[in-house]
Amino acid sequence: MARSADPVVELDNVQVHFNDTGFIDKLRGDETIVHAVEDVSLDIAENEAIALVGESGCGKTTLGKVAVGLQRPTGGTIRYRGQDIWEAKENGRNSEIPYSKIRQSLQIVHQDPGSSLNPNRTVLTSLEVPLKMTQSEMGADAREQRIYQLLEYLGMKPPQDYAHRYPHQLSGGEQQRVALGRALLMSPDVILADEAVSALDVSLRVEMMDLMHDLQEVFNTSFVFISHDFANARYFAGKVGGKIGVMYLGELVEFGPAEEVIRNPQHPYTKVLSWATPTLDPDLAAEESMDPPVRKIDIPDPVNPPSGCRFHTRCPDAREACARESPSLQRGETDSLVSCFRMDDQHEYWNSDPFEGDDDPTEREHAGEQ
């Protein structure tokens, strides 16, 4: 478990299964259950930065949405400052912390800012919406001044000019700033940034992440930063002493301080992500193997996740024990928590035969990549 002292948000044994059964299958009585998130526990502390990384379909977005109360888990619990979020929704006014307050405290910034902003609204009108909700007593002039201030803070100068533009008159980076500003106006405790820099040019990503760090400091906001890119996750979490969680097929397989996970990856899957991240230094790049350190490059279908350790079908270190039993997070030689039998010197893994690989004909390739 990845616990912290005084969490804003606590996830306990969260599980999310989607029923993806089509109409015809339903008539036949067949069910298709996508195992998106499996038994994940995680705390988000005040002012924390957590980056979740993994391939498409690993459940990182689903887990992120659970963490900000946008996705109801099918198992386990999610609490905001001790209050169960989904109970708060059902109990309405009787809840200790009202659901509306929780919703306001947990915000999301999407990957594609172009489609999350209303194309028919100017920047000013878009940004007025959250202010009208949270500070309804505020006058129109004061509201406008507040928005100008925010735009200036977001680096969009002169703010009077930007305020009257429409989304299509902004660059991708500027749209993303407006989306971030809109989330911040709700004074949230946690912002889920879902691939929020992935659509930006590599040359603009550091700038956007720096801005998020500045805002984190000023507004005391925690971030859950979702990325398929190891280098972005490292910068986002590492720069502010945050953590990286690596996900594979719905499970958290490694969780630890950002620089530790990057420099000293422990789980064989984290090592795969590390291999996949290009090295800029040509001398080091020349030393790297050209072949991926996996048995198969395509991900198994989350409808039928492999038995035991879900990574065993692709893991270069897999042994027979991995196909039978499922590991849980434990501390190895570093500060990271790792879900792999190799962390335990006493485990029967070490006496088990190498895994021969199975070409399971029923295994379908996962078709939902981005």
């Binding site: 040359s203 398929h228 890119d229 996949a276 290009p278 790049a285 395509d298 390739e365 990549e369």
Partner: protein, 354 residues
């Protein structure tokens, strides 16, 4: 083709040049004014090399790729000279080909792979039919072609039988992209132009595909023009890099040299700004200032408003290429390239700093 260009093509280009691009421009007339999205570009592509063309969105790199295949869409205006040198036979003046010649040229000599694999397939046709139709449309031998297709798919870690049977939507994004690469190679082109071929894919699939491209180049002897905004992605793949800024190239050089000691202030700033897993976090910095507007490109050196080395000379005159340290292979379009290293230090890994 004009006499003067024939002359220059014959005398200047080296025997191993496959593409020669001279003074190529692409322009659009917009409401706000005239915009040049490729501005007087000249470059030679060498046979069997992998050249990485790196630039941010809107730097003109995709339009440059389209120009190579004379595929600039209306109302874009393409001008200049593009000469293609086949291994045997006469040089081809690409911009004077008629529609039918161009269609053959585009698949049989130079193939294109772009990032939207899904849009490149016909959703109602199986993958096998795509290969069959492509081979037949170009009057190639069907049996040989289909065998070659199977071989290519297997080399790309795909199961040919399963992929042939499938319809495009039944394949994952990574499988579609690999299938598209196989399809683009089925007629054995000599050049492949890849425009962000892995942009929509996961890291592992990106890296796997770049490894495969390098293996395919070695096996089949093809020239690869790999266009991307993602400098680290191409760093481990390309033999040579061309860096674009504001619609023209600003630096060329062997990948090793450009990464180790870039000679243009923009390239150096870019190397500092790119997130990676080795550089100390405190050394990563965004590039100051904003990207230029195609309607209003700064005069002189287009990078001067953002450059710490800019002087009056940079405002007055647009630099042409300087040879870096007297090396013909290394070119930097900067009046002050000699001072760039000191003014913009960067480090690629944990300890050293160049």
């Amino acid at each position: 083709m004009s006499d003067s260009s024939l002359h220059s093509a014959g005398s200047v280009s080296k025997p191993d040049t496959i593409f020669e691009v001279e003074n190529v421009s692409v322009s659009f007339d917009m409401n706000r004014g005239h915009s040049r999205v490729v501005d007087d570009v000249s470059v030679e592509i060498e046979r069997d090399e992998i050249i990485g063309v790196v630039g941010e969105s809107g730097s003109g790199k995709s339009m440059f790729a389209a120009a190579l295949l004379d595929a600039v869409v209306e109302p874009g205006l393409l001008s200049g000279e593009i000469t293609y040198y086949p291994e045997d036979g006469e040089p081809i003046d690409v911009l004077s080909l008629d529609d039918d010649e161009l269609r053959r040229f585009r698949w049989e000599e130079v193939a294109m792979v772009d990032q939207g694999a899904m849009d490149s397939f016909n959703p109602t046709m199986s993958i096998e039919e795509h290969f069959r139709e492509t081979i037949l449309a170009h009057e190639a031998n069907l049996e040989e072609g289909m065998d070659h297709a199977r071989e290519l798919l297997a080399e790309l870690y795909l199961d040919p039988d399963r992929v042939f049977e499938a319809y495009p939507h039944e394949l994952s994004g990574g499988m579609q992209q690999r299938t598209l690469i196989a399809l683009s190679m089925v007629l054995k082109p000599n050049v492949i132009v890849m425009d962000e071929p892995t942009a929509a894919l996961d890291l592992l699939m990106q890296r796997s595909i770049t490894s495969l491209i390098s293996q395919l180049r070695d096996k089949y002897g093809i020239t690869v023009i790999f266009i991307t905004h993602d400098l680290p992605l191409v760093a481990g793949l390309a033999d040579r890099l061309g860096v674009m800024y504001a619609f023209d190239f600003v630096e060329f050089g062997p990948t090793y040299d450009v990464l180790k000691d870039a000679a243009h202030p923009y390239t150096r700033a870019l190397l500092k700004a790119v997130p990676n897993t080795l550089t100390p976090l405190e050394d990563m910095r965004p590039i100051d200032g904003d990207s230029p507007d195609p309607v209003d490109v700064p005069r002189g050196c287009s990078y001067h408003p953002r450059c710490p080395l800019a002087t009056q000379e940079c405002i007055d005159s647009d630099p042409s290429f300087y040879e870096v340290h007297g090396d013909r292979e290394r070119l930097s379009a900067c009046h002050h390239w000699e001072d760039a290293a000191e003014a913009i230090p960067y480090s690629l890994s944990t300890e050293e700093r160049v």
